[in-house]
């Protein structure tokens, strides 16, 4: 009687934990409620872990608690020491660890249930889930680590590693993994435990390779898509593992995270007007179509910080468009200073954030928030575009492709159809760049040569600081 009671209570406890997770994600809908939402998530996780420990079948508390403590300490150290500019990398890294954990848990459950497997008691759906969690978990792990390396801009990983027959080989690897999984399911049904374990290990290893080949061809500006996708995968892996061990909170939690990641991925793809398959498997036609840069840039006019300060004198609306370059130059604090200086003179300052600006969804928002910019000044692209006609000066810092009008005018361009921040409709555009080097898409940007555009060739942070200084002096 009490045995069944304990199972019921544990199941209810897991349900409460899942509800707390749902509540936590719901609270992310507004900055005001989001902090509390995160705490609710912590509560849910704590409840779930406590319930697991108190599960009647669990023994060996010392090792378990030791593992929890070691993991907590490492996680805490990593999280408190990372700088905001390193956030995308950190999210990628943590994501990877979760993926590997899913693989290990499925494997451990397999090992723990040797007797049941030998007797053929494991049904097909569970065996399929075992293979699935190995594949998705391993892909998440290696893919996330590679994404981490690319975001950290390790020299060896900056450019995709090209090898002959790339696409066919990747496809072959995928087929091999699927074939091995089918074999695993058959072997499991027949009770061949050793074969199952061996295949599990091979599938996991092959999937590690698969994760690398998947993320390898992805470069800089496409990273937001890949990171969202890997985020989703880690949830799917957790869900699959949950199915293997028949645990509701893993299934529900995994489904929530999987859904979250997929939606973000969709948003990112729509913001680039490219399909997911195109991002993952397509080859970006680097500068293929369109006029040569030298032609486009013949009429580029450059300016100085002092001139910019003069231009900004007496204007009413200024919009700042940040891009990945601002993150690289670590200019967010300087930009905030400029914004504040302008606001002190009665200018309305807003920030136009393109969905894929930066290397991660919401990247620019986090950097500007860290620099103490009030979140109500951070405007989404669709919200601010209609008002561009009344903007006096747009300051583009470190952004290129997201303000390139070619997306609207040239249907053969690699960025054709991509929604952009329409700064070309503003009265004056100041572009702060170090040089005329192309953005990620590798194409020329006619915005730079437009009549109402001036280029300030300098490092982002210095340039902005100089402008601020000139405004304060003048």
């Amino acid at each position: 009687m009490s045995h069944l009671w304990r199972i019921e209570i544990a199941t209810f406890a897991y349900l409460v934990a899942a509800l707390l997770f749902i509540w936590a994600l719901k609270s992310m809908a507004h900055p005001r409620t989001a902090v509390r939402g995160n705490l609710l998530g912590v509560l849910g996780m704590g409840l779930a872990i406590a319930t697991a420990i108190l599960d009647e079948h669990v023994a060996g508390y010392v090792t378990i608690v030791a593992g929890l403590i070691v993991g907590s300490v490492v996680g805490a150290v990593l999280a408190t020491r990372v700088q905001m500019t390193g956030m995308p990398q950190m999210v990628a890294l943590l994501n990877g660890f979760g993926g590997l954990a899913s693989v290990l848990v499925s494997g451990a459950d397999l090992l723990n249930n040797e007797a049941a497997v030998r007797q053929g008691h494991w049904p097909i759906d569970v065996l399929i889930a075992v293979a699935a969690s190995a594949i998705v978990g391993a892909v998440t792990f290696s893919g996330s680590l590679l994404a981490y390396g690319k975001l950290q801009e390790f020299a060896a990983l900056k450019k995709p590693i090209r090898y002959p027959l790339q696409q066919p080989l990747n496809a072959l690897l995928g087929l091999v993994v699927l074939g091995l999984s089918a074999w695993l399911v058959v072997a499991g049904g027949a009770g061949h435990f050793g074969t199952v374990i061996g295949l599990f290990a091979v599938i996991a290893l092959a999937s590690l390779l698969l994760g690398l080949t998947l993320v390898n061809p992805i470069g800089g500006a496409d990273m937001p898509v890949v990171i969202s996708l890997l985020n989703s995968y880690s949830g799917i892996a957790a869900g699959m593992t949950g199915f293997v061990i028949a645990n509701n909170v893993l299934m529900i939690g995994g489904a929530l995270v999987g859904a979250s990641g997929i939606i973000l991925t969709q948003i990112m793809c729509k913001a680039m007007n490219r399909s997911l398959t195109n991002v993952l498997f397509g080859v970006l036609d680097a500068g293929g179509s369109g006029p040569a840069a030298s032609e486009v840039y013949a009429k580029v006019r450059s300016t100085t910080p002092e001139d910019v300060a003069l231009l900004l004198d007496g204007v009413q609306r200024v919009v700042i468009v940040p891009g990945y370059g601002m993150a690289v130059a670590q200019a967010q604090h300087a930009v905030r200073e400029l914004g504040k200086t302008l606001e002190d003179k009665g200018v309305s300052v807003e920030y136009a954030i393109h969905p894929v600006a930066g290397r991660m969804p919401g990247h620019m928002n986090v950097l500007l928030a860290e620099a103490d910019v009030s979140y109500d000044k951070l405007k989404e692209m669709d919200a601010i575009n209609p008002t561009m006609d009344t903007v006096d000066v747009a300051i583009v810092i470190g952004a290129n492709d997201v303000v390139n009008p070619v997306a609207k005018t040239d249907p053969k361009s690699p960025i054709a159809g991509m929604p952009i921040i329409e700064v070309d409709r503003c009265r004056t555009v100041i572009v702060i760049k170090r040089s005329l080097s192309p953005g990620f898409a590798g194409i020329a940007n006619p915005l730079f040569a437009a009549d109402n555009t001036l280029l300030l060739f300098a490092d982002g942070k210095e340039a902005v600081m100089e402008i601020t200084k000139a405004i304060k002096a003048g």
Binding site: L94, L104, N231, G258
Partner: protein, 137 residues
């Protein structure tokens, strides 16, 4: 809804669950882990049917889509790190696997506990840090 009352209610739920579970542990000696593990094949709760599991899964996905859709672009990064932390729920499976009978299973599960816990603690802390910055100034 003020933060304090929400946390109070949530904390009460947690405490209730823990008290009932602990109480059962203490009240019934036969329910103690050491004796339950003496049998060679440990009695497991019946696995829910495939249809039931798929139902739960699908409903959870639909719920997730609904809830996530309301998150504004400005909070996408904390959303990612927050949902990432939740995906560390794998730690629950790792704890169960680590506590089971077996030779290699618990050893493998130990590493899973460490990894998943890094994911959980790191994820929630990073999300908290980011969310603290989003203020109306």
């Amino acid at each position: 809804m003020p933060v304090a009352s929400v946390l109070w209610k949530a904390a009460l739920c947690v405490v209730f669950c823990l008290v009932v579970t602990a109480g059962t542990l203490l009240a019934d000696p036969l329910a103690a882990p050491s004796s339950a593990n003496n049998s060679a094949v440990v009695a497991q709760p019946a696995r829910p049917s495939l249809a039931v599991s798929v139902t739960i899964f699908v409903l959870a996905i639909l719920l997730g889509v609904e809830v996530i859709g309301k998150v504004p672009a400005t909070l996408h990064t904390p959303l990612m790190s927050g949902s990432n932390a939740i995906s560390g729920i794998t730690v629950v499976g790792a704890v169960i696997a680590a506590g089971a009978l077996g030779r290699w299973g618990p050893a493998v599960a130990f590493f899973a506990i460490v990894l998943a816990m890094i994911n959980v603690v790191g994820g929630f802390l990073v999300t908290h840090r980011m969310l603290q910055m989003f203020k109306r100034k």
